[in-house]
């Protein structure tokens, strides 16, 4: 076993070496990749000869590298934009191809409309450098049509720069996995209102909590908002969210200590259709607000991830009966619910997706009543033969589709809640 781990370690070391070749700016990445793969091959062969026994790796080929490519992380957070190394390679490729021609043109003689047309074909980084060229180009590049969608996934940005960007009538911003950094030159956080409609701050890190409040304070037109994994927010943040009278989708997954009053205000003001409260560990008052005040327009609800005795059969049946349009319902990891809730859910006319993984208090027979469902996630409740039986009983449904929640999350950058925000490049 130790030998085996040694082989794997040796290969990982070679893999990192190969990556460092790719990092080198002056070298052609393709040739370096080829040479490093031959080196890898020979070294792997040497290791195999030393081992002197049959290995289940096909080490003679580059199958390990292939396998690494195939074995991507399941978490949707990491699959959005390519990381910096990939983009650097692309950049050099594009520069090499167009570097052959030395064509010149007098850009300053062109009318503004045509320049606007040209800039519409550039990605954000190039628009920045064009704006740096001269005053007139800066004014053209600041035109709002170039800044309608901003995809800054995995990026860090200064706070003042972010506010300046969204002041350009930006509508859709994705700062997933990014971070907002403190700016010493920024003295006050008083800004005018902005036009944001879709804002995704999933797993964004803020140097200070006031930064997030300052962003939310500017928004009045939000329709889709994701604050996943933001931890404990100041109570006034929820009051600012409630100011958005068109808010349809709200994702508060992993936000802790949500105040009951703020939640109540949101439910009263916003015509919500999708709400995700997974892993929020709501206290008693907030739980009662969810049960009593959740608007009846809601179609997708997620209350998974925390075992709250207040979300028992009686209260959840009361909630479900208030929601006539319920399509998706997630209540994983709840040990207080039982068969009564499942029988009520089986009578919901529109329910198509149900997640009840690890709800050990439910008798498995109750799941066979859910005839209208298309997707049923019941991980951990049954043995393999049990799942087989459920699949036979519910031929229309997909049993155990995915562990991950789908409520309140955009699929990818091409389907960002109905718009395509993929950067041009």
């Amino acid at each position: 076993m130790e030998e085996l781990t040694y082989v794997v370690e040796a290969k990982i070391v070679e893999k990192t070496e190969q990556m460092s070749f790719v990092h080198d700016e002056n070298e052609n990445p393709n040739t370096m990749l080829a040479t490093s793969s031959t080196v890898l091959k020979s070294r792997a062969e040497a290791i195999i000869h030393e081992e002197d026994e049959d290995s289940f790796f096909d080490a003679g080929s580059t199958s390990f590298v292939e396998a690494r490519k195939q074995l991507t992380r399941p978490d949707y957070l990491y699959q959005e934009t390519p990381c910096a190394t990939v983009r650097n390679i692309r950049k050099r490729k594009a520069a090499v191809i167009s570097g052959e021609s030395t064509s010149k043109i007098k850009l300053t003689d062109m009318p503004n409309e045509i320049l606007n047309n040209i800039f519409a074909n550039l990605n954000r980084r190039d628009i920045f450098s064009v704006g740096q060229a001269c005053y007139r180009f800066y004014n053209i590049s600041a035109n709002s049509i170039h800044w309608r969608n901003l995809n800054m996934t995995n990026k860090a940005v200064l706070e003042s720069a972010f506010h300046r960007l969204i002041s350009r009538r930006t509508q859709n911003v994705c700062l997933r996995n990014g971070s907002i950094q403190a700016d010493r030159a920024l003295f006050s956080r008083e800004f005018t209102l902005c036009c944001l409609v879709r804002l995704d701050l999933t797993a964004t890190t803020f140097a200070k909590a006031e930064m997030l409040v300052a962003i939310l304070k500017r928004c009045r037109n939000l329709e889709y908002l994701s604050l996943e994994s933001q931890g404990i927010l100041p109570p006034e943040a929820y009051n600012y969210i409630a100011e958005n009278r068109r808010l349809k989708l709200l994702n508060l997954t992993n936000c802790k200590e949500i105040p009951a009053e703020g939640l109540k205000r949101i439910f009263k003001n916003c015509p919500l259709t999708d709400i995700s409260l997974n892993f929020t560990f709501l206290d008693e008052a907030a739980s009662n607000v969810v049960i009593d005040y959740l608007p009846s327009t809601v179609t997708r609800v997620a209350l998974a991830g925390f075992d709250n005795p207040l979300f028992n059969d009686v209260s959840l049946i009361k909630l479900v009966q208030r929601l006539p349009n319920l399509i998706e319902f997630e209540i994983d990891d709840n040990n207080t619910v039982s068969n009564k809730l499942v029988t009520v859910l089986s009578q919901c006319p529109n329910l198509r997706k149900l997640s009840m993984s690890r709800c050990y208090n439910v008798d498995p027979y109750a799941f066979t009543l859910l005839r209208r469902l298309r997707v049923l996630n019941i991980y951990g409740n049954l043995s393999n033969t049990g799942y087989k039986y459920i699949r036979e009983q519910l031929p229309k449904a997909i049993v155990n589709e995915s562990h991950l929640s789908t409520i309140g999350r955009a699929i990818d950058e091409h389907h960002f809640w109905g718009v395509d925000i993929a950067d041009k490049y």
Binding site: S98, K104, L107, M110, I114, N117, L122, S129, R164, N177
Partner: protein
């Protein structure tokens, strides 16, 4: 909205079918024969088509030189695609340098390109605009440093060095962060 444009197109097509040879009277007084496809693609020409002289069958075009118009005709002879032009939505869908339409412009001088861009801006022809501007000039700008853009775009900066430093500081482009994969 769509209904009105379709009726406009049908009336234009029936009007085009009546006339066999359409000529343009250019700035220098010379006549250039053009195909019906060019009239369909250009907003301005299809609009001006209503004032066509029935006897001589010419459209007056007092703002564009005949040499430029001949180049546009030569470009449209190269491209045989007769369908309505739809701009590509992705970078990868853009035609490469091997495409005859892109290669056609690569040997032009600065002045010729200048005149062409003005002409296609005036005539409002999206296909021609995309081929000259978006596929050729974008290559000049894309992935370049600011110095290179200034050199190839033949322009001078009107920022002072202090202002430029201030610009970089204020509009710092989002820095890329490598995620642990």
């Amino acid at each position: 909205m769509a209904a009105t444009t379709s009726t406009d197109m049908s009336t234009l097509n029936t009007a085009l079918d009546k006339i066999s040879n359409i000529k343009l009277k250019c700035k220098d007084g010379k006549l250039v024969t053009i195909s019906k496809r060019i009239i369909r693609e250009s907003e301005v020409l299809s609009h001006n088509f209503s004032v066509v002289d029935e006897v001589e069958q010419t459209i007056p075009l007092p703002d564009i030189h005949s040499t430029v118009m001949k180049q546009i005709v030569a470009f449209y002879d190269l491209i045989e695609d007769d369908s309505e032009y739809v701009p590509p939505s992705k970078y990868t869908d853009r035609p490469t340098k091997d495409h005859p339409g892109v290669g056609f412009f690569s040997n032009f001088t600065v002045e010729e390109l200048q005149a062409l861009t003005h002409a296609c801006g005036y005539l409002d022809m999206p296909r021609l605009q995309d081929f000259i501007l978006c596929h050729m000039i974008v290559d000049i700008i894309q992935d370049r440093e600011i110095k290179e853009i200034r050199e190839r775009g033949m322009m001078k900066t009107d920022y002072t060095p202090e202002e430029e430093a201030e610009f970089v500081k204020r509009h710092e482009a989002p820095i890329e962060v490598v995620q642990p994969q």
